[in-house]
């Protein structure tokens, strides 16, 4: 399974549930398909290391994890080529994929692209979040899935959202230690989410979720209504401090602090291609603008899965199949009637998978102080820019993140805004008293992941490209 061809009908970028399902269906129905992913093995985030996890006991990760094998098997047999360990750093308007693999860059022309680049953990800017020993809960989960590693010593989990509880449950199953869970879910979210409770109760989330929550709460001390969370320590985290509501300050020893407040779409590649994006007020994140098939505003480019708005792993799978069917239509392999007919069961399944989502989105909408942090908190980890500096730049007249970026270098580091972008948008919006939608987001450019200058230099150039540079020399 290696890419031997010089071009493909379809490139799917990202080998999570969305990408695996899309590539499988497309290849099965005759498109020459290549699946590209940075990781060495298929699975994406949820099914990470599904084909090779060292965890012998399937009970640790739970049945939802092992469902991933139902995707990797058919993919292997589908005839699609797989390029693991491949970073996609650019997709041009003419659908030329810029990729880098084992230190060598290359351009791969295709006729259609499905971005299935998934989600990343929402930034959780608190004082001290850059200290060694503070990590994402998702990061800890990756260490568990791929390496069978768990944190030791005093372990504190903090934040909100299903994944936080899932990790706690998996840790307990693995026999790992958790000292405390600091639940930052704002109390008022319960009231806001109530109207969606009905739909949630009819969804598949309920049974699993409630059982899991119950089990974790029985075994671990949970502090609820947590505010003013801080990671403290000299050279690494040693302590967490927090309040419950307006109560007095608590301190707990912590060797590891695992933070999580939901996931947001990984939009960098779509943004760099020039796909229009919109601010999602419920999920409080930027999302590429897509139609019911995942098609973006750029011809030939679709987004499937969490990259087009968080819907979860099962939804991602169905959205991948819908995007693949649309690709078949756009490449002239099937007609509209056939696309819609084939799509029907996937649409039904998608609807089922999405039921109850609104409730979770509203309930776990992160508390404002953790989205719009106080002045002394670092928002841009790469360039070490604080929220206060962003506010000062707004006072100088910066009206959006591209201006604060040029004034402060905020968002200019190697992560290219992935860990500061949403925060910067919200900080500026609050300071200006306007909506995040009005403030906007970074304008990103390739490479969306770093490649070396030598790799860049090695790529093919047209005569016009050379003339553009040498014309004046």
């Amino acid at each position: 399974m290696s890419a031997t061809k010089d071009q493909y009908d379809l490139a799917v970028i990202g080998a999570g549930p969305a990408g695996l399902a899309a590539a499988t269906l497309a290849a099965q129905r005759g498109l020459s398909t290549v699946l590209l992913d940075e990781q060495e093995a298929p699975g994406g985030q949820i099914y990470r290391a599904i084909t090779r996890t060292p965890l012998r006991n399937p009970g640790v990760l739970g049945p939802d994890y092992w469902h991933g094998a139902e995707l990797t098997g058919p993919f292997r047999d589908s005839g699609a080529d797989h390029l693991p360990g491949t970073t996609v750093w650019s997709v041009s308007r003419d659908l030329e994929i810029g990729l880098s693999r084992q230190g060598a860059a290359r351009i791969l022309p295709v006729k259609h692209v499905i971005l299935a680049t998934g989600a990343l953990e929402r930034p959780f800017p608190i004082p001290g979040w850059t200290l060694p020993g503070v990590m994402g809960a998702g990061a800890a989960q990756i260490l568990l899935k791929a390496s069978g590693l768990v944190a030791q010593g005093n372990v504190v989990l903090a934040g909100s959202g299903p994944l936080l509880w899932l990790l706690a449950w998996q840790y307990l199953r693995a026999g790992a230690r958790i000292d405390a869970i600091l639940d930052t879910t704002p109390r008022e979210n319960w009231r806001a989410a109530l109207p969606q409770l009905g739909a949630f109760l009819r969804s598949d989330y309920v049974g699993k979720g409630v059982r899991l929550l119950f089990e974790v709460r029985r075994k671990v001390k949970v502090y609820s209504g947590v505010s003013e969370l801080k990671a403290l320590g000299d050279g690494r985290v040693q302590m967490v401090s927090f309040r419950q509501g307006d109560g007095e300050e608590w301190r707990l020893p912590a060797d590891t602090l695992l933070l999580h407040q939901g996931v947001i779409p990984n939009i960098n590649l779509a943004n760099a291609i020039g796909c229009a994006q919109t601010w999602d007020e419920t999920q409080r994140c930027w999302t590429p603008q897509v139609d019911a098939w995942g098609a973006t505003t750029v011809p030939g480019v679709a987004v499937a899965g969490d990259g087009a708005g968080i819907g979860g792993a099962l939804a991602a799978e169905h959205r991948g199949r819908l995007a693949a069917l649309d690709a078949l239509l756009r490449l002239g392999r099937i007609d509209r009637v056939e696309r819609d007919r084939s799509a029907a069961p996937h649409r039904d399944a998608l609807e089922r998978a999405q039921q109850g989502r609104d409730f979770l989105d509203t309930l776990y909408s992160p508390a404002k102080p953790f989205r719009v942090p106080p002045d002394d908190t670092i928002v841009c980890r790469c360039e070490e820019v604080t929220a206060g500096q962003v506010r000062e730049a707004v006072a100088l007249g910066c009206s959006g993140p591209n201006q604060t970026k040029s004034f402060l270098r905020c968002g200019m580091g190697p992560c290219q805004g992935r860990l500061c972008g949403p925060t910067v948008t919200e900080v500026i919006a609050e300071a200006r008293g306007v909506s995040p939608a009005e403030v906007g987001y970074y304008r990103l450019r390739p490479p969306v992941k770093p490649i070396t200058l030598a790799e860049l230099a090695s790529l093919p150039k047209s005569e016009a490209d050379v003339a553009a540079v040498l014309g004046r020399h």
């Binding site: 030329e96 007249g397 591209n402 230099a457 490209d465 540079v469």
Partner: protein, 376 residues
């Protein structure tokens, strides 16, 4: 940010890029009441995408006065940077170690030498030192050049700064001196009325005694409203930036320089591409290849960003400064070397605008030079 309606200013500067900001800063320094009207977060803004050279060598072939104007600004930069630092505490990292312009073949080096000679042979041109270094001589200065490098021209007057910090320092200075900076106020219309000007923006109307058009590409649209002409076109340039690296290169080397923060900036290209700022991979690849041939040690560095920005180019590449004949309070200022010329815009141009009159020495920069029918 209050609404603008009914506001009255001595000068309204249109465009908050480097040209407009430097001019507004200079005007405010002289006690003028200034409004600076700007677009929003996403705009065609060469001021955020430039290469940050304060560069003298090679400029002015075809217009000797431009060579003098450029040298004057570069000479004024030390004072300009000091004024900014004193006022705002921001160090814009101006350094003038002298600049090299490398050649990748004997033919390139020869062409460079001839070009500089022709420039300096022009009657009335300002005198300054420069040298042509062969490969051996260049290696004394830059030991890590690659085997393809044939030599370079060198001029001690060249330098560079941190242009993003320059923009920030100017804005901090503007705030300090009470300039009304107004983003999200794209100027839609300008009317000369009652000896002054009314400017209609998305966020209300501004009145001012004088107006300075420093709106870059948008000057094309705005200039005719006050009896001026701004025949400029966009010229796209690509730039690459690497990760932060330990300091190894103090001199700007034409299109390669290391910033004070450690990143290596590499330019540059010259394309007619309308206002499309999309990045073309083939062009950045060509730029990268040239850079690696000049300094092979750059090859393993990670590229963290590339971008394309639009230079504001007049037909002959020289700036346009002009006062309106029909509405004499209106001035036009446009150029593509807004960093190099920032010191002049702040310290030399602004005083004339404050006084209400561009002296005769600026006639050569008038757009009238484009109005003579071109010889076939």
């Amino acid at each position: 940010m209050s609404d603008l309606s009914g506001s009255e200013y001595d000068v309204a500067v249109v465009g908050g890029g480097l040209v407009g900001s430097a001019t507004a800063w200079g005007l405010a320094r002289l006690g003028q009441k200034v409004a600076l009207l700007d677009e929003g977060d996403v705009a065609v803004r060469p001021s955020r995408g430039n290469f940050a050279l304060v560069w003298v060598q090679g400029k002015g072939l075809g217009m000797p006065e431009y060579a003098g104007w450029t040298k004057r600004s570069a000479d004024g930069w030390t004072e300009f940077a000091a004024l900014l630092r004193d006022q705002t505490g921001i160090d814009v990292a101006y350094d003038r170690p002298g600049g090299f312009f490398p050649a990748l073949s004997e033919a390139e080096l020869e062409a460079r030498a001839q070009q500089l000679q022709r420039l300096h042979n022009q009657p009335g041109v300002v005198r300054y030192d420069y040298e042509i270094l062969d490969r051996a001589a260049l290696r004394q200065e830059l030991p890590f050049i690659g085997p393809d490098v044939a030599g370079a021209s060198y001029c001690p007057l060249d330098g560079h700064c941190n242009s993003l910090r320059l923009l920030r320092a100017l804005h901090a200075g503007l705030q300090h001196s009470g300039v009304a900076y107004r983003p999200n106020r794209r100027v839609e219309r300008i009317e000369a009325r009652d000896g002054g000007f009314r400017l209609a923006t998305g966020g209300g109307e501004v009145g001012a005694g004088k107006v300075v058009l420093a709106a870059g590409h948008d000057n094309i649209r705005l200039a005719p409203m006050v009896g001026l002409d701004a025949p400029v076109r966009p010229e796209r340039g690509h730039i690459i930036v690497t990760e932060k690296t330990i300091p190894f290169l103090r001199h700007p080397v034409g299109f390669i320089r290391q910033t004070d923060e450690g990143g290596v900036m590499i330019g540059d290209s010259f394309e007619d591409a309308g206002l499309d700022v999309g990045v073309r991979v083939g062009v950045v690849s060509t730029i990268a290849e040239r850079a690696v041939r000049i300094f092979p040690l750059l090859g393993p560095l990670n590229v963290v960003r590339t971008w394309a920005a639009q230079r504001v180019m007049s037909r002959d590449g020289f700036p346009i400064y002009e006062q309106s004949a029909t509405a004499p309070g209106a001035f036009l200022a446009t150029c593509h070397s807004g960093v190099t010329l920032a010191a002049n815009h702040a310290l030399a141009l602004a005083p004339h605008i404050a006084a209400g009159r561009l002296p005769q020495e600026f006639d050569v920069f008038s757009a009238r030079r484009f109005h003579v029918p071109e010889a076939a």
